[in-house]
Symmetry: C2
Subunit: 333 residues, 2 copies
């Protein structure tokens, strides 16, 4: 693959991508000839070749060159050298994961917030609550006359709680039902609970529990809410305001932010998720052609999902990729 380009062409492409990522200005031949030992004319002719190959573009006839989408792609596939993370940042992130008070999902959330701040890009975690969780236990805590709290715990340590309003129902009967549930359907996958509830519990409480209708309905409700996907929240959407090529174009920013608030768009980020790091440059993603999404899947005993960093196409790929990798490592251990 790499023999598509001469060594010098590769060097030039790399320099242009990195220079442009840094300066946000089309890169001129003159600038490069300082770093390579040759004249600007030579570079110009090489640049013309690279443009021919579809790796560079011009913004107008006499402008410097800018990487094309293919140019970025070639860069990340063949030229990029990963950039090790700043030790301090690494430490900060690790500290978050070492806080054993926190659920894993909170650690992920928190560290992605930190990453958003240090990179100036948006970040997101998708689908951290695995629905393959199995029911571990349910508890009921009566609050007052007619309301109680139902707490549902899964084997992976995920906890949810719901209010349950039941007027004129004896606490005894509710507890009986809880006992039945804990005996009969513990170990069931969360999203199959309602089925079991209907076919295994309902008949039984129908016999032994008074006011079974009301109680059954209340519990059915509690578990059906569980199936709702938990809402995903992109962190640092407004970081796009800090990116020069966006800040001159409010409409674009608005457009991108709107996309980042759209559940469906986010859902698509999860699709075709590979185990290693995937880079969706420009048209590869469904957010905006000037945006890049870098994402990876993670999978642990308790959780599973995708984390992604979202920024301009002109992203610091070398830095972001190694950060994301570092995150993945941290999560998975």
């Amino acid at each position: 693959m790499e023999n598509m380009l001469t060594e010098r062409q590769a060097k030039i492409l790399k320099l242009i991508v990195e220079e442009y990522i840094q300066s946000v200005k089309p890169v001129s031949s003159k600038l490069l000839c300082k770093r390579l030992k040759c004249s600007s004319a030579t570079i110009r002719s090489e640049m013309a070749n690279l443009e021919e190959l579809g790796l560079l573009e011009k913004t107008h006839t006499s402008s410097g060159r800018v990487p094309s989408e293919q140019g970025y792609r070639f860069y990340v596939d063949h030229l990029m050298v990963l950039k090790k993370m700043n030790a301090e940042d690494m430490l900060n992130l690790q500290l978050i994961f070492q806080n054993q008070q926190l659920q894993l999902s909170d650690c992920i959330q928190k560290s992605l917030e930190v990453i958003s701040d240090i990179t100036n890009y948006a970040t997101v975690v998708l689908g951290t609550t695995s629905h393959e969780n199995l029911l571990k236990q349910i508890d009921v805590v009566p609050l007052n006359e007619n309301s109680m709290i139902v707490i549902v715990i899964t084997d992976k340590g995920h906890v949810e709680h719901k209010n349950m309003v039941l007027s004129d129902v004896s606490l005894e009967e509710v507890k009986k039902t809880v006992g039945l549930i804990n005996n009969l359907i513990v170990g069931t996958p969360i999203d199959e609970i309602n089925k079991k509830l209907e076919f295994e519990i309902k008949p039984i409480i129908g016999k032994y529990v008074s006011q079974h209708e009301q109680i059954y309905n209340a519990f059915y409700h509690v578990f059906s809410d569980f199936t709702n996907p938990n809402k995903t929240n992109v962190v640092g959407k407004s970081k796009f305001l800090n990116q020069p090529e966006f800040s001159s174009n409010i409409d674009k920013i608005r457009q991108v932010i709107t996309k980042l608030e759209d559940e469906n768009v986010l859902k698509e980020i999860r699709e075709d998720d590979e185990n290693n790091i995937t880079i969706l440059i420009g048209k590869d993603n469904n957010i905006d052609e000037d945006v890049t999404v870098i994402k990876t899947k993670f999978k642990t005993a308790t959780e599973e999902g995708t984390i992604a960093i979202i920024g301009p196409k002109r992203m610091e790929y070398d830095r972001v990729v190694s950060m994301l990798d570092f995150m993945k490592q941290n999560i998975e251990k």
Copy 2:
């Protein structure tokens, strides 16, 4: 108070404020003379008077008039007529509160998201978890060898859960401790638990529980995290992108968004909180002189806090105030 102005002056001021809120353009005398039966010259002289009084301003010598900060203040204090909410919006909000599955704080959060969408302003709820909550019950669910989940429930129905990592500790001993806590310190205000833990529980488990050191520390940790203020999140910060007087000024937007992410700034919004609706126009708030904060306190049996709507100074006061009032009603019942 209102006799500061003649009836006609009041009418003109009201028209100018409302026109400007709608059009975002300085209001000319010509425009007004269509609505009042008099010539533009007459209006001009009245406008000059109102400017004299500090209620109007010009953007340049020959421009139309714009309300001054005092002008807005006079408007909201004396001239504004509340605008009833759209029936559909009211219904939508009410439905959220009628969903008995949800905790009150979730209802508030959800409905403020809706309000942010229909108004195009940012919203926030501050300090919904009252630390006057009393401990109702704690539960422990073992997950595996060395980790368990502690669930803390308060009398107001607030639930929190924490991971607790304890290696080589017998479950029996932990359960004993839980039993002690549930017997001895239930009913204690959340933020006093650690004190009680130290002076009442520690001595006892010191006697009766083996490995008390480790267990005590773990529980101490669980409760000390509780005192952390829950993080407040402003909804719809990017709505400022949709406000014309901001969208021409990215720096301003960035500045405002940064403020809205600053915990301290948000905390100040809660201060001097009155029971009724408070309007902080421009310099009255600590966000930006072109921003207005409209807020009110709410207090229910279970929760207490402040909700606020944050938008440009050129805010639809009549609409927002009645919405906020409606929200308060809904929350408190």
